[in-house]
Symmetry: C2
Subunit: 435 residues, 2 copies
């Protein structure tokens, strides 16, 4: 680039994060330019409606409705993609790279599904493609996995990476709300969208987990390979029983590298109340990375929203800007060709919690324990809970030692067929984290 | 460098961290070389006694007692300094940079006292000088402050960055131990040195805080400018009263940027029990960074010890190695010339906790509250605690609203002189963190 002109930034999208970036480039221009080591300037921003009133107020020469005016003009060095979704964002990112522009994006859909190919393209062109904002908002987890922790052999990631569901589960745990009530409060407060399906089903977390697992294990994990179960089966009663047993319930995103493959799964999980992940409340996100030699490193912060994501995007922007000001080139990407395959969920081994509704009479336990014993599911604890005298029923809560998911699924079908089991109210996986 | 030879590493010091690095370069050589993008090789290691049995077992051509054999030989690209202390480590780092070698160090004494000059020298020579291991062990806090969070305007840091004292305070809080007992247990477990003065006095934390504050605020904070009070004045009773008031007590390292200067201080502090820093137990470290637009980002992990520090050093080594393999140059340093001065402790405003021993009779409170009121120290709560009927005394615990340190110090002298105050048992600062 011409050393006599400022580093030019082109924005794709002027939503809350785009506006935050534009505002920072206006109001904190001196500080950002100093961090970069050269002046930084917003050259152009792609918008749908250039006449909409905005903050910051941008001149009409900056606003454009034509993507080519961002992707293919010479004065722009860094394209910041904040449109979201796979298309047309993916096409724009590709075009920007082909035109020799560095790219910063916060697009988890795009990176989880096309990250490997896009990073290869960027690498081939010797361009930066950074995406700190795609996972964990303001938490610098992408930078930590791809830089600071790169000397480690990462063995597992345990993460709370969806703020909406963590807010809902925190309301259920702390205030005894049921799921519906907690969701509608989250919606009132703007923490859940009108259509919360992507969050509540675990899909959003699965996208993010596939990115983290790919980086941590130097392999390609497709979001479709992530086992996924949402939070809709949880009841206030599960939270109460879990607490009595010393556990919290969180929607956990888990990635583990084992000799025989990688486990990647998003589901509600009981975790020990003394573990720091159990303290993550409200809309916060957190990621715990375990590896050798680091042991365990834990990150916590606001996982979404305009400000934290703006922080991540600005961090990436400053990084690329410093590189340009230094006359450098981005570091080569670490190849994602490690020889791992994603384990089928049926082969996963973990601990389990069952909640069963049974007749309140003798002989019930022996039949239930026989079913479990026959399938090699070893019981860790079994407790009879609230009896309903009128109905003549009681609830039984069972926790198991590590067992195979396939056996547990089979046991659920068999238990459901027993005369002495009225209904299997719930099965929740239990993650035995060191406290 | 010659592209046909591996990236050469020279180690200064083969203590626990040096051995960890050497072991990783032996046992995980393929993984590390893949992360770097080029083969990485340990060329030479400076030791005091080349005949001492070691793990890993290194050939005698690698071991040397002559620093010049590491600092001034052509096959070494990266010098890893793990001797510790200011001298001769500082001289070695300088010589390595002058010889055109990149440097990785975990030396907090050196970086806190000479970091600015050494970073300038490295910058002038276009060499990398990285020091992730100097603060927070395995927690990637240096990388986060200097890279990922660089787009932020950082307003404060609250950190627990001394594992020894956190272990001692956790034992006092959780098991009601007194300070002596807790220290001797820490020594038995290897968490405290035979001479624990540097840890217990807060000196170690002050060194680390000066590094964090310098990076966060782009200024030079000398460790001697950090206000410092150790943990030896704390008693089991303070922990009990604090808990009753809803607070934990931690040795906190605090850095705040304000319009009229920077506050940097290390002292025991009451912090709200609901805040995530209050959950940091045992030898763990944690750092909370507040800034705009990130909000609050929180980092937690093992703060010291061979393995976490090895992780940090390897991360830096891989970073420099990748840069060399890419044929790149390190990013320019962000200048530390921001216009801040370090505030005198007497000008700091914070909240306070007092514990006073008083005669158990009427009229006591009015005299005490008059002293405080006259100094504009506004009381938030005042509670009478355990009375000693035999001695005719009681304990009074007072918490204040924000007050000036100078006024509080003056009030302590005045209270001590009152007839109605037998003794001022303790004064502890109280940090009002948002929960």
């Amino acid at each position: 680039m011409d050393p006599n002109r400022p580093i030019g930034v082109g924005l794709l999208g002027l939503g809350v994060v785009g506006s935050g970036v534009a505002l920072a480039l206006q109001q904190r221009r001196n500080a950002l330019s100093k961090a970069v080591g050269a002046p930084v300037q917003l050259v152009r921003a792609l918008v749908r409606d250039p006449h909409k009133p905005r903050r910051p107020n941008l001149s009409h020469s900056v606003l454009t409705t034509d993507p080519t005016q961002v992707l293919e003009v010479p004065g722009i060095d860094i394209v910041v993609e904040l449109i979201g979704g796979e298309q047309p964002a993916g096409e724009y990112v590709r075009r920007a790279l082909v035109q020799g522009k560095h790219v910063v994006t916060a697009n988890k859909d795009l990176i989880s599904q096309q990250g490997s190919e896009l990073l290869d393209l960027a690498d081939e062109k010797r361009l930066g493609l950074r995406f700190e904002g795609a996972v964990g908002g303001g938490i610098p987890i992408i930078g930590s996995l791809t830089e600071d922790l790169l000397g480690n052999d990462i063995s597992s990631i345990h993460a709370i990476i969806n703020g909406t569901t963590n807010f809902i589960l925190s309301s259920m745990a702390d205030e005894g709300m049921d799921a519906k009530e907690a969701l509608s409060r989250a919606q009132q407060l703007g923490y859940a969208e009108a259509d919360p399906a992507k969050d509540v089903s675990g899909l959003d977390a699965a996208y993010k987990l596939s990115i983290l697992a790919s980086l941590a294990f130097h392999t390609k994990v497709d979001p479709g390979q992530v086992f996924r179960q949402g939070i809709d089966g949880l009841s206030a009663r599960d939270f109460r029983y879990a607490r009595e047993l010393g556990y919290a319930i969180k929607l956990l995103a888990i990635a583990k590298a084992q000799r025989n493959g990688v486990e990647v799964r998003v589901h509600p999980a009981l975790i020990p109340e003394g573990h720091i992940l159990a303290k993550v409340g409200g809309v916060f996100n957190a990621v715990e990375v375990a590896g050798e030699p680091v042991g365990r490193a834990f990150f916590h912060g606001l996982g979404a929203g305009a400000d934290p994501t703006t922080s991540a995007v600005l961090g990436d922007l400053v990084h690329v800007g410093r590189m340009l000001a230094t006359g450098g080139r981005p570091l080569r990407r670490v190849p994602d060709d490690a020889d791992f395959y994603v384990k089928a969920m049926s082969d996963v081994e973990t601990r389990y919690y069952f909640r069963l509704n049974v007749p309140d009479r003798a002989g019930v336990l022996s039949q239930i324990t026989r079913v479990l014993g026959d399938l090699d599911i070893s019981i860790a604890s079994i407790i009879q809970k609230d009896a309903d005298a009128a109905a003549g029923t009681a609830e039984i809560v069972i926790t198991t030692h590590p067992a195979r998911e396939a056996a547990v699924q089979r046991s659920l079908a068999l238990l459901d067929g027993l005369d002495v089991v009225k209904v299997v109210n719930n099965m929740i996986r239990l993650e035995e984290l060191p406290v």
